[in-house]
C-alpha cells in the first residue's frame, strides 16, 4: 500500500472514507441510533467484507454511501469523503444522482425480487447503460449484449428480449450484477449477494464478482453474515456490532488473530469448528436496544468475561498492526490477560492450509 500523502490523512489509494458516521432513524416518534460513530476507509481495488449479525447496521451503513436510507433515517453527524466531496452532506436527489450508479452501484440480496417483473432483461440493463455511458438505441443495445455475455449469460440476443420470470435465481443475480456493472461504477456494494442462492450457484456468483472486479477495476464491499463467503473473497474484514465496527483487519488477521470478544464469539459459532456430538457454540442474549444510549462496550452484556470498565467507558481502537485494529479494553496494557476461547485456536488448524 503506497502511503503517498496528498492531503492530511488522505492516502492516495483511499477511494472512500467514512468518518464518525452517526445514523438515526425516527420510529413512532422515538429516535433510534442505528450507526454509532462508525469509521471506515475503503482502499482502491480491494474487497472488503462487512460481517455481523442481523440488525448490526451493515446495510444501513453502506446504504448511507448512496443516499438510500429509508425516508425516516438520516445521517446525524460525521462525514463521508468521496473524491474530495463530503457526500454525507448531500440532501437533494440531484446531488445523489451524481453518486448513484455512476460512482457507487449496488447488488441486492434477493435476485427473485430485485428485477422489475414487467420489463425485459435487456431493457433493464439498457437503462443503466443509457444513463451512465451516454449511449442510445442500437449502440446501447450492443453494449448490453456485451455485458450480458460478460456476466455469463449465453445467447444474449435471445435473453435480451426475455422477462425475469424466464430466468432462474442464479441467472437473475447475474443480470443484477450486469446492471451494476453497466453503470461503470468505482465501488460496488454487494448486499448479501449469495444469501438467497443455493450453494452451488453461490460459488459461481462469487467467482463472477471476482472476474468483474478484475475486468472493470472495481472496489467491492461485501455485506454478509456468511463467513464462508468472507473467507473466499475478502481482502479485509470489518466486524460490525450494534452499529459500529468493533474490529477490522486483513482476512488473515481477523480469522487467525481475532481480538474482540465478539469476533471470538462469532468465529466460535462457525459450524466448521464444531465437534461432532457437541452442541455448536452460540452467543447468548440479544443485541442491545438501539433506542437507548449504549454505555461502554456494546457487547459487554453478552460477554461472560466482560471487564468492569466494559460497562462504563466505550473502548477506543487499539492498533495491533497498521491494518488491524479492534475496539476492546482487552488490548489496553492495564487490562488483565484474557485468553481467547479454545475454538479460536483451532481455526488455524482447521483452515491453516488456506
Amino acid at each position: 500500500m503506497g502511503a503517498v500523502k496528498e492531503k492530511v490523512n488522505v492516502k492516495s489509494d483511499v477511494v472512500l472514507s467514512a468518518e464518525e458516521i452517526v445514523i438515526k432513524f425516527n420510529l413512532r416518534g422515538k429516535n433510534l441510533t442505528a450507526i454509532r460513530g462508525c469509521s471506515l476507509e475503503l482502499h482502491k481495488g480491494e474487497s472488503l467484507a462487512i460481517v455481523g449479525e442481523s440488525g448490526s447496521g451493515k446495510s444501513v451503513f453502506t446504504k448511507s454511501f448512496m443516499g438510500l436510507l429509508d425516508s425516516n433515517g438520516w445521517i446525524d453527524s460525521g462525514s463521508i469523503i468521496y473524491k474530495g466531496n463530503d457526500i454525507a452532506s448531500y440532501k437533494t436527489e440531484k446531488d445523489w444522482l451524481k453518486i448513484r450508479g455512476k460512482e457507487i452501484a449496488m447488488v441486492f440480496q434477493d435476485p427473485m425480487t430485485s428485477l422489475n417483473p414487467l420489463k425485459t432483461i435487456g431493457k433493464q440493463v439498457q437503462e443503466a447503460v443509457e444513463l451512465h455511458q451516454g449511449f442510445k438505441g442500437d449502440e446501447a443495445k450492443k453494449l448490453v449484449l456485451e455485458i450480458l455475455n460478460d456476466v455469463g449469460i449465453s445467447e444474449p440476443e435471445k435473453r435480451y428480449k426475455q422477462y425475469p420470470h424466464e430466468f432462474s435465481g442464479g441467472m437473475r443475480q447475474r443480470v443484477v450484477i450486469a446492471i451494476a456493472v453497466a453503470c461503470r461504477p468505482n465501488i460496488l456494494i454487494c448486499d448479501e449477494p449469495t444469501t438467497a442462492l443455493d450453494v452451488t450457484i453461490q460459488a459461481q456468483i462469487l467467482q463472477l464478482l471476482k472476474n468483474m472486479q478484475k475486468k472493470y477495476d472495481l472496489t467491492i464491499i461485501y455485506i454478509t453474515h456468511d463467513l464462508g463467503v468472507v473467507a473466499n473473497v475478502a481482502d479485509r474484514i470489518a466486524v460490525m456490532y450494534a452499529g459500529d465496527i468493533i474490529e477490522i483487519g486483513t482476512s488473515e488477521e481477523v480469522f487467525y488473530n481475532p481480538q474482540h470478544p465478539y469476533t471470538w464469539a462469532l468465529l466460535s459459532s462457525l459450524p466448521q469448528l464444531g465437534v461432532k456430538g457437541e452442541d455448536l457454540y452460540s452467543i447468548s442474549g440479544t443485541p442491545p436496544n438501539l433506542f437507548k444510549e449504549i454505555k461502554g462496550d456494546a457487547f459487554a452484556p453478552r460477554n461472560p468475561r466482560a471487564l468492569k470498565i466494559d460497562f462504563e467507558i466505550r473502548p477506543p481502537y487499539f492498533e495491533l498492526s497498521p491494518t488491524h485494529k479492534a475496539r476492546t479494553w482487552l488490548l489496553d496494557p492495564r487490562s488483565p490477560k484474557v485468553e481467547p476461547p479454545e475454538a479460536i485456536k483451532k481455526i488455524r488448524q482447521v483452515w491453516g492450509g488456506k
Binding site: 450508479g101 425480487t113 428485477l115 422489475n116 414487467l118 437503462e127 422477462y163
Partner: protein
C-alpha cells in the same frame, strides 16, 4: 391471444345464453294480472285470455322458449307489448341507447382521469394532508349510501353552481352533474386501488435497485411504479363498467334522463317481457365485454400472464 379471445368469446356466449334464459323464465313467473296494466278491472275473462294468447303467453313454455331462441338467432328482439305496443324493441332502444352510452362513457372517462390522478397524488404525498383528504373522500363514498350523496349533489350543487336540476338534451351543462355523480364510486375505487398498488410497488426490491442504478425519482415513478401498478388495476375496469350500469339505473331516473336505465325499471314494472329480455341482454353484454377487456388488458401489461396456455388469467 387469438385462441384465447375466441375461447373467451364462446364462454361469454354461454354466459349470455344462461342469463337471458333465466330472465325469460323469471318473467314468466310474474303474476298474469301485470299484463293488463290498469285495465285489469274492466276486462272480462275472455278478453284477458285473448290478450294473453295474443302475447303468445298461452303456448306451452318450451314452445315459447323455442320461439324466443330462434327469434334471437335471427336478430329479432321482438316488439314491445306494453311500454309502446307493437313498436319493435330495437327502435325503442335506438332512441334510448345514445343517452345512456354518452352518459356512461363520460362518467367512465371522468372516473379514469380524476380517479387515477387522485391515486397518483395520494401516493406522491403519502401520509400528508392530501393523502388523508383523499382517504376521507374514499371512505365517505364507500360508507354513505349512494342515494344520499346523489341527492345532496342534485339539491345543493345545482344551486351553488347554477346547474340545471333536470336533464335537458339541448343543454350541455345538464350533462355535468349526472356524469359526475355516476363517476364518484368508480373514481373512489380507482384512487384507492391505484394508491394501494403503487405504494405496494414502491416498497419492492426492484425499486431499490432502480434507485441504486441512479434513475430519477420521476422516471422510477412513471416507468416502473405506475406501469406495474396498472396491471392489477386492469381488473378494476370491468368493475367500474358494472358500477356505471348500476349507477345509470338510479341516476337516470333522478335526473329524468331518457336512457336505458330508467327504461329497464319501467319495463320490469309493466312486465314488458321482450323489452326486459333485450335490455338485460344489452346490459350483461356490456358487463361481459368489460370483464373480457380487463383480462386482455392485464395480459398486455403483464408478460407473465399467458392467456392462451391456461385458458384464463384469473
Amino acid at each position: 391471444m387469438l385462441k384465447y379471445s375466441l375461447k373467451r368469446l364462446l364462454q361469454s356466449m354461454i354466459t349470455l345464453f344462461v342469463i337471458v334464459t333465466l330472465v325469460f323464465l323469471l318473467m314468466r313467473l310474474m303474476p298474469e294480472e301485470g299484463y293488463y296494466g290498469d285495465r285489469g278491472d274492466k276486462l272480462d275473462e275472455a278478453q284477458k285470455e285473448a290478450i294473453l294468447t295474443d302475447m303468445g303467453l298461452r303456448d306451452p313454455l318450451y314452445i315459447q322458449l323455442k320461439n324466443f331462441y330462434s327469434d334471437l338467432l335471427h336478430g329479432d328482439f321482438g316488439t314491445s307489448i306494453i311500454y309502446r305496443p307493437k313498436v319493435p324493441v330495437i327502435d325503442i332502444l335506438k332512441d334510448k341507447l345514445p343517452y345512456s352510452l354518452y352518459l356512461g362513457l363520460s362518467a367512465l372517462a371522468i372516473a379514469l382521469v380524476f380517479g387515477l390522478s387522485l391515486g397518483v397524488l395520494m401516493t406522491r404525498f403519502k401520509g400528508k394532508i392530501g393523502d388523508k383528504l383523499g382517504t376521507g373522500y374514499i371512505v365517505i363514498i364507500n360508507a354513505v349510501p349512494a342515494a344520499v350523496y346523489y341527492l345532496l349533489l342534485q339539491l345543493y350543487v345545482t344551486d351553488i353552481l347554477k346547474l340545471p336540476i333536470l336533464f335537458d338534451s339541448d343543454n350541455p351543462a345538464s350533462w355535468i352533474l349526472p356524469a359526475v355523480s355516476m363517476s364518484l364510486v368508480s373514481m373512489a375505487s380507482y384512487a384507492m386501488w391505484l394508491r394501494r398498488y403503487m405504494v405496494d410497488e414502491l416498497n419492492k426490491d426492484y425499486i431499490r435497485l432502480a434507485r441504486a442504478k441512479g434513475l430519477k425519482n420521476k422516471v422510477i415513478m412513471v416507468k416502473h411504479v405506475m406501469r406495474n401498478a396498472f396491471v392489477p388495476m386492469a381488473q378494476l375496469l370491468p368493475m367500474s363498467v358494472l358500477y356505471t350500469i348500476s349507477g345509470s339505473i338510479y341516476i337516470e331516473s333522478l335526473y329524468s334522463i331518457p336512457g336505458m336505465g330508467g327504461l329497464l325499471v319501467d319495463a320490469i314494472q309493466r312486465q314488458d317481457n321482450p323489452l326486459v329480455q333485450t335490455l338485460v341482454l344489452v346490459f350483461s353484454s356490456i358487463g361481459i365485454l368489460g370483464l373480457f377487456l380487463g383480462d386482455v388488458l392485464m395480459a398486455i401489461f403483464d408478460p407473465r400472464i399467458k392467456l392462451s396456455k391456461q385458458g384464463g388469467g384469473r
